[in-house]
């Protein structure tokens, strides 16, 4: 009984993480367009002239191929897809943050084509320092939504009333936003977030806090390590800290 191993070719993917494996190989965690997150072994990838060489760089659009029936696939091809945008400086930290979010929260072998598209969009917007922070917030929101844990930013309990600019709200992990006079989130900031308008610094601060709070139960007692990167400089002059 010899059925051919399933093969996938030319699949758009990003490398999330790479770990040395045996002498010259590596275990590569991939986020793919149609197959979700999966792990593949890249044989011989650490040799100087490996054809899988491109699979060693994260934050770059790739097309990959693999074979295998089990959990762990065998990488058969990896080549750059399209033109590379040089990710530099603080954008790198944001990229590592995105990768850590996807690694930690997206279940493996669960297709997430829409989230993949958001990931791709987030990376392409990363180079611009002004849009970097909104892009992270939007991605976090979409991630929660795709994981089935999203909540409306313009409706609040009790009774799914429209969020009012002049009122304050708090987040209830089960029920979403709740009207609460002492709540930390002003309605006008929530409405701006709902409209993807992050031009006000207050909206950005509020969005950062809200997303942190919404993600916290999913992360359990292991906080995201990449957040510590943004502490390099002293407080007060931080940029797009997640």
């Amino acid at each position: 009984m010899t059925t051919a191993e399933p093969r996938v070719e030319g699949q758009p993917a990003y490398v999330l993480h790479i770990r040395p494996y045996r002498d010259d190989s590596a275990l590569v965690d991939l986020f793919t367009a149609d197959y979700g997150r999966l792990r593949a072994v890249a044989r011989g990838v650490r040799k100087a002239r490996s054809r899988l060489r491109d699979a060693t760089q994260s934050l770059r659009a790739l097309r990959v191929g693999w074979r295998g029936r089990g959990e762990l696939k065998t990488l058969t091809a990896a080549e750059p897809a399209g033109v590379d945008v040089l990710v530099q400086g603080e954008a790198l930290w944001c990229g590592l943050y995105l990768n850590e979010l996807v690694m930690r929260l997206v279940p493996s072998h669960d297709p997430q084509p829409r989230l993949f598209a958001y990931y791709q969009l987030a990376l392409s917007e990363m180079a611009d320092a002004d849009t970097r922070e909104p892009v992270l917030r939007v991605f976090e929101g979409r991630l929660l939504e795709e994981l089935g844990l999203g909540f409306a930013l313009d409706r609040a309990e009790p009774g799914q009333q429209a969020v009012a600019a002049g009122l304050n709200y708090r987040l209830d992990p089960q029920r979403g936003l709740l009207s609460d006079a002492g709540g930390p989130y002003p309605g006008h900031a929530l409405l701006a977030m709902a409209a993807d308008d992050y031009s006000e610094p207050l909206t950005r601060r509020c969005a950062k806090r809200l997303m942190r709070e919404a993600l916290a139960p999913l992360l359990g007692d292991r906080p995201l390590q990449s957040r510590s990167l943004f502490n390099a400089r002293g407080a007060g002059q931080r940029g797009a800290q997640p």
Partner: protein
Amino acid sequence: MSFSPLIDQLIASLRCLPGVGARSAQRMAFHLLERDREGALKLSQALAQAVERVGHCQRCRTLTELSLCKLCDNPERDASQLCVVETPADVLAIEQAGSFQGRYFVLHGHLSPIDGLGPEEIGLGELEALVQEMGVKELIVATNPTVEGEATAHYIAEQLRGLDDSIAVSRIAHGVPLGGELEYVDGGTLAHAFAGRKRL
């Protein structure tokens, strides 16, 4: 096939070496036992001593059994230049190239949030202290040209920016290998080579 327990144990132990599978481990074990018992004894003593005594240099964190490694202890080395690398093997590679006369600092890794390696785990606090203590004028960041290596380099630059503006932080250049042909160079490397081009 199984041999006597001690031979099996030796074969199994040899397999911890990189590139040594069952077959080569067996060959090594029989070579040592049949043809070179003296060598085997030397090997076992050298291993035991090295494992027991080799630690990290107090200053640069490279591997050594001395409290200060030879490079840190050498007064001829230029203390105003400090080169940050990921591994002791990188120190060796740069030393063999012979073009750097300063001192080193070994991170033993790079920032890797998914692996739980943050700034503290790779000794960036110690680096900051060392830079101040040594009176470094230029810090050369020679981490690997990977996303994590670049993120580490950027972190170090930001960390020192707040500390002392008189310290120049530089990054080693990335580009086309010597004797190579552009046609065979990957897109990422070419992009870096263009971004870091020099005026002639």
